[in-house]
């Protein structure tokens, strides 16, 4: 794309490009006979072979002689990754799920050629098994409100023209043309936007502090080191709408007086890196970043820096040390990065989702953004629903929605009709919320009050088959491995917590250990150097609070109620046994006896609980409890 000269030129350009999206926007002309087929090209759907599907569809379209009326393109993540590959047909608003290569011909033949929806490929309501005709009628999408994810599933992230057609960079352009940096900061403050990556610090105030720092050199950093296991909204935004992040960074830079930005991105996200780099190159070629943007006096450029597999680098001071080329060891705050950050210069660090909201706020106004959400948590939030839930995926909802609505209305309830036990929010720094609190309105402050936190918005649903002590141990295993090792409480304290939890899950725990856990967890929260260490005990404290009976069962009765902790389980052969002898032959310690064609028995005293027999049994006759 040629360099765009100024604000007017961009507006003109956007108007010219609008027809690109004509079929995809609400209110599109259904009678034109033209169709667009958008295929999700996110990591999730790509691993379900969506790129091959795209080629196949294009081939089938050509073969059916529909090339002039129907076009298949790639787009960003629809969020419904579990049902991938996702194919959406515009302007019909028809949403196909789990479309295999073998389905391509049927889809083209039925839908595109004969105007008959391929019902077999539609999403079916798990309650009544009825197919749902319209994308917007799907329970998974009905309650959603997509702002940060607005362009994901709408535009082709690899073409800047699509982005500009969707008003991309207009917010930046109008800031440069019409607003002072202070006005930009003011607008963000009005919006009430809070950091979407962890603690929820008000973004406008962060910018204000950085803007007030003297000196000509400042930096803007985008934290794209999405490390919370179970959270993938940042990856989806970067893959589906990378320009929104670039534009957000440029606006932030203008607001605080920075000319250089860095995106600190996980090396584990190769597709996101590729798309973002492509977007940066395109934006630079179009004069939307670089020297004297859109003919203004403002210059801003950015560079990608790779994270190299350290969760702690999501902590802002650790992230800065990593960008500087060192070990990602956090440093004491204050001074805060907005005062003294990269190479000692004022630096603002915002995460991907936060920055993706910024252009929308500047375009539609801080008041608009603040008009939804709860009192102290404005706007929408993207949550990554995962775990034992029917509809796994990304959902964007207004803040203040009840957990129950997310899990049951949007998420479609618990998988396989099991009983809900807890939902874990906030990743390894968060806590587990029990069924009793399902009606609490989700926002930053309520989650903290429940002993959890927003984090980056991961929501892992657990059912009756999950042992909460085991879950706490899982998280501690994570934070222990990911601790940078700098401060004592995190380096040794979290290790000791993990050891105590291990003892409990192995039946070696005592009631005194539970007190010890509580004290140690409290001290670590109180004394650890950075956010990682301070929040690491949360999964322990919240499970101890809400699921203490499970701990007590492990300690006193030496029993794991969920049937997870192997050391506390006994293996039994039930009457489903056909006496085939496979388990007996497979047992490494020869503790199974029984005659052929008769029910076998396990000698509990010799059994090492390795589980080999279960995997050998053809009739699932062996259980543990």
């Amino acid at each position: 794309m040629r360099k765009i000269a100024d604000f007017k030129a961009l507006e003109k350009h956007a108007a010219e490009l609008k027809p690109r999206l004509a079929l995809r926007l609400p209110g599109a002309d259904l009678s034109s006979g033209k169709r667009e087929i958008l295929i999700c090209g996110g990591t999730g759907c790509q691993s379900s072979r969506s790129l091959e599907l795209l080629e196949k569809l294009q081939k089938e379209i050509r073969a059916a002689g529909l090339a002039s009326t129907a076009q298949a393109r790639i787009t960003g993540c629809f969020g419904f990754c579990e049902k991938g590959p996702i194919v959406k047909v515009f302007p019909d608003d028809v949403f196909y799920v789990e479309v295999g290569l073998e389905d391509a011909m049927e889809l083209v033949e039925n839908h595109l050629k004969n105007n008959v929806v391929a019902e077999r490929l539609l999403y079916r309501d798990p309650q009544d098994d009825k197919p749902i005709m319209s994308h917007h009628e799907m329970p998974f999408y009905k309650k959603q409100m997509r702002v940060a994810l607005g362009n994901c599933g709408l535009i082709n992230p690899e073409e800047i023209e699509d982005c500009i057609a969707a008003d991309g960079y207009l917010a930046l352009a109008s800031c440069l043309e019409k607003r002072t940096p202070a006005e930009v900061v003011g607008e963000v403050k009005i919006s009430g936007l809070r950091g979407r990556g962890g603690g929820g610090f008000p973004t406008g105030i962060k910018w204000e502090v950085a803007a007030a720092q003297p000196g000509p050199v400042k930096y803007v950093v985008c934290n794209a080191d999405e490390g919370d296991p179970g959270a993938f909204m940042d990856r989806s935004i970067l893959e589906g709408d990378p320009h929104s992040v670039i534009e957000g960074m440029a606006i932030a830079a203008y607001a605080v007086g920075a000319n250089q930005g860095f995106v600190y991105i996980r090396a584990e996200y190769p597709l996101a890196i590729r798309r973002l780099q492509l977007a940066v190159d395109q934006a630079r070629a179009a004069g939307l970043i670089g020297r004297r943007i859109l003919g203004s006096r403002f210059s801003f450029d950015l560079e990608l820096k790779y994270g190299a597999g350290a969760f702690v680098c999501g902590e802002e001071t650790a992230l800065l040390r990593s960008i500087e080329g060192g070990r990602g060891e956090p440093t004491s705050k204050p001074p805060f990065p907005a005062q003294s950050g990269l190479w000692g210069k004022p630096t603002i660090i915002n995460n991907v989702e936060t920055l993706a909201n910024v252009p929308q706020i500047l375009r539609r106004g801080g008041d608009w953004f603040a008009s939804f959400g709860s009192e102290k948590s404005k706007g929408t939030k993207v949550f990554a629903l995962a775990g034992k839930i029917n509809n796994v995926g990304l959902v964007e909802v207004p803040m203040g929605i009840a957990l129950r609505e997310i899990i049951y209305d949007i998420g479609g309830g618990i998988k396989n009709g099991k009983q809900f036990k807890a939902v874990q929010t906030g990743g390894p720094s968060g806590g587990c919320i029990p069924a009793a609190d399902l009606d609490v309105k989700i926002d930053y402050d309520n989650l903290v009050a429940m002993g959890s936190m927003m984090g980056s918005g991961g929501m892992i649903v657990m059912d009756e088959d999950n042992c909460m002590v085991d879950i706490a141990k899982f998280y501690l295993d994570f934070t222990m491995e990911e601790s940078c090792g700098k401060c004592t409480p995190c380096r040794i304290g979290n290790k000791r917590i993990h050891e105590i939890l291990t003892a409990i899950t192995e039946g070696r725990g005592t009631m005194e250990d539970l007190d010890k856990l509580e004290n140690l967890a409290a001290v670590i929260k109180d004394t650890a150097l950075c956010g990682l260490g301070q929040t690491a005990p949360n999964p322990v404290l919240s499970t101890l609070k809400y699921f203490r009976d499970e701990y007590v069962a492990h300690v006193v009765e030496k029993r794991c109620p969920a049937g997870v902790c192997t050391n506390l389980l006994d293996f039994f052969i039930t009457d489903k046994c056909i006496g085939c002898g496979l388990c007996k032959r497979g047992c490494p310690v020869s503790c199974i006896s029984g005659e052929k064609k008769e029910m076998h028995v396990i000698d509990k005293t010799k059994c090492i609980k390795c589980g080999t027999c279960i995997s050998k049994c053809p009739t699932k006759a062996i259980i543990r409890k």
């Binding site: 070990r327 004491s332 004592t488 050891e499 150097l529």
Partner: protein, 578 residues
């Protein structure tokens, strides 16, 4: 100024001060472990990593590390609430849960900061147990032992090695529970670019880093009837030894030290200061030769083995710049095993030369391949001041009550110039005293070169020698030496003569001295003690030492004679930079 309250008491401190500074001003004691600041040496280690100094600040969600939290107006700080005490105690118990509980036999026992901290917090049990770190003990170096199992990750050694000394051999390695401090690839330290300056050992709060203890070897030599054991004591030792026996810092204990060594059973008790005078004879002669005949300038002193190894690694393109003189320790040994042996009619093969040094690099130096003669080392055993302290205790000697005694002849006599070798600037001052007189032929009246004294890292002076402005500089600490040498390499600065000591402040701050725990006033007192001893001497110029004159007359001939070269000079080798 910022005013705040600590435990209800008001205090005012400058902006940028920490809570710990404010507490200090009020006389409120907050325990610390990892923190060590020595502003004079640009050592700033307050990473707030140990979390021992945490305090409660009103309005703050969690506890704040006092060492790294800047004060704010109207801050309300509590240093000893139940919450703070419980947190502090838990943190120390956690450290102890991953620390070998072998204090009874630990080389650092009674000097260990962790041990004192546990006592201060009345830790009487450790609530936690579990896996302990298992690091292989690195005993590859002749100078010091690295036992990372005792490391508390204060990172003082790393800060000292990288930011102050710029040797850059240490870095934090791994992460999580496996985190430790070590050299690249965890290689044996003796294979690394480490120069054994010992400043890491000097600041280590525990016995994670400790000198190789040669005390037993010395006792064995003394008790061996076939051996003739002589001892030499470096100038800086006498300025610090008394501190270990309850005497105030800065009281020189030369006479008591000689008495104690004689009580040990050494056959002769000598003084390295004698060899320091000898070094000046050779070095001043070398300087004058280069100065007068257009030789390579500046000349760099070479009596510090840490510095010598440092330039072999880092400035191997400039190996022709340093003086070729061996250090006083090595010159002493070389002369003892030749001239002295002859005089005393002792077979040099039977002679054992022991040196007492403020320095651990001297242990390494004694074993260097370029030292010694006929397969015999110049110096056989090196012990540090700290090992001497232990030996005096082992021998049951009431040190403070000893009567002063003198050194033996002929290698016990020294001038004031030899004495000040023990402090940064002293070698250069001593060299200038002699060089001035030799070049000009006039008597130097003002022998005190005060511009070259003190703890500053780089000191400069211009001395008028027969109308020529001789530019001299002193670098204390290897970081300063690096800066100076880089400037010279880049042609930015020109000097005639430069003294470098690896340790900031020189040998009085050597890696083998009694621990100063960051209190530089102790170092200043040690310096003062040496200058006072210099001043009290009748003879203050090395070339006036009558026994040095005798040595040249009877044995060496003149400075830079063939024999002097053979015994007293050496050469350098190129070593890898990384």
């Amino acid at each position: 100024m910022v005013s705040l309250k600590i435990n209800g008491q008001s205090v005012e401190v400058p902006e940028g001060a920490t809570i710990l500074d404010a507490a200090d001003k009020l006389g409120v004691h907050i325990p610390t472990l990892c923190k060590l600041d020595i502003p004079e040496f640009s050592l700033h280690n307050h990473g707030a990593s140990c979390r021992v100094c945490v305090v409660e600040v009103a309005g703050r969600r969690n506890l704040a590390p006092a060492c790294a939290t800047p004060v704010m107006q109207d801050m309300d700080v509590k240093t000893h609430t139940a919450r703070v005490i419980n947190a502090r105690r838990t943190v120390v118990e956690l450290i102890l849960s991953n620390h070998p509980k072998t204090c009874l036999t630990c080389p650092k026992s009674t000097a260990c900061e962790l041990q004192s901290l546990a006592a201060e917090l009345s830790i009487q049990g450790i609530a936690f147990s579990g896996q302990s770190s298992r690091h292989t003990i690195d005993a590859s170096s002749p100078a010091y032992v690295r036992d990372m199992n005792k490391c508390v990750l204060c990172r003082r050694c790393e800060t000292m090695c990288s930011t102050v000394q710029t040797v850059n051999v240490l870095s934090g390695l791994n992460r999580g529970f496996a985190t430790c401090v070590g050299p690249a690839f965890n290689m044996p330290i003796s294979d690394s670019v480490c120069v054994s300056c010992g400043q890491c050992v000097a600041v280590c709060p525990t016995a994670a880093l400790s000198e190789v203890n040669n005390g037993a070897k010395v006792w064995a030599a003394i008790r061996d009837p076939d051996k003739f054991v002589v001892v030499q004591t470096a100038p800086a030792v006498r300025a610090a030894l008394g501190e270990a026996f309850g005497m105030p810092a800065g009281v020189p204990v030369t006479g008591k030290m000689a008495a104690a060594l004689r009580m040990f059973g050494f056959d002769k008790v000598f003084d390295t200061d004698f060899a320091a005078d000898l070094t000046i004879m050779e070095e001043a002669a070398e300087f004058i030769h280069r100065f007068k005949h257009g030789g390579k300038l500046p000349i760099l002193t070479s009596c510090c083995p840490g510095w010598v190894k440092f330039f072999e690694h880092q400035f191997s393109d400039m190996l022709d710049v340093p003086s070729t003189c061996k250090s006083p320790q090595q010159m002493f040994g070389a002369v003892a095993k030749t001239w002295l042996a002859e005089q005393l009619k002792v077979d040099p093969a039977r002679m054992v030369v022991v040196s007492v040094m403020p320095c651990i690099a001297k242990k390494y130096e004694a074993g260097r391949e370029d030292m010694g003669r006929d397969g015999r080392p110049d110096v056989d055993i090196v012990i540090t001041t700290r090992e001497l302290v232990k030996m005096i205790r082992e021998a049951g000697i009431k040190f403070a009550a000893l009567q002063d005694e003198g050194f033996d002849d002929p290698m016990g006599e020294s001038t004031g110039a030899g004495v000040i070798f023990g402090t940064s600037g002293g070698v250069l001052e001593a060299a200038l005293r002699t060089a001035y007189e030799w070049i000009t032929g006039n008597t130097l009246e003002a022998v005190d070169f005060t511009a070259l004294r003190g703890l500053r890292g780089i000191k400069e002076a211009t001395v008028d020698v027969d109308g020529i402005a001789v530019k001299a500089a002193v670098a204390g600490g290897l970081g300063n030496a690096r800066r100076l040498l880089e400037d010279i390499r880049a042609g930015k600065k020109q000097y005639h003569i430069i003294e470098v000591m690896a340790c900031p402040g020189g040998c009085i701050d050597g890696g083998g001295q009694p621990y100063h725990h960051g209190r530089t006033e102790i170092l200043k007192k040690r310096m003062k003690a040496l200058y006072a001893e210099d001043k009290s001497k009748v003879l203050r110029k090395s070339h006036e030492n009558p026994f040095i004159k005798k040595l040249y007359a009877e044995f060496l001939g003149e400075p830079h004679s063939k024999l002097a070269h053979e015994l007293l000079h050496t050469h350098y080798v190129k070593r890898p930079r990384m």
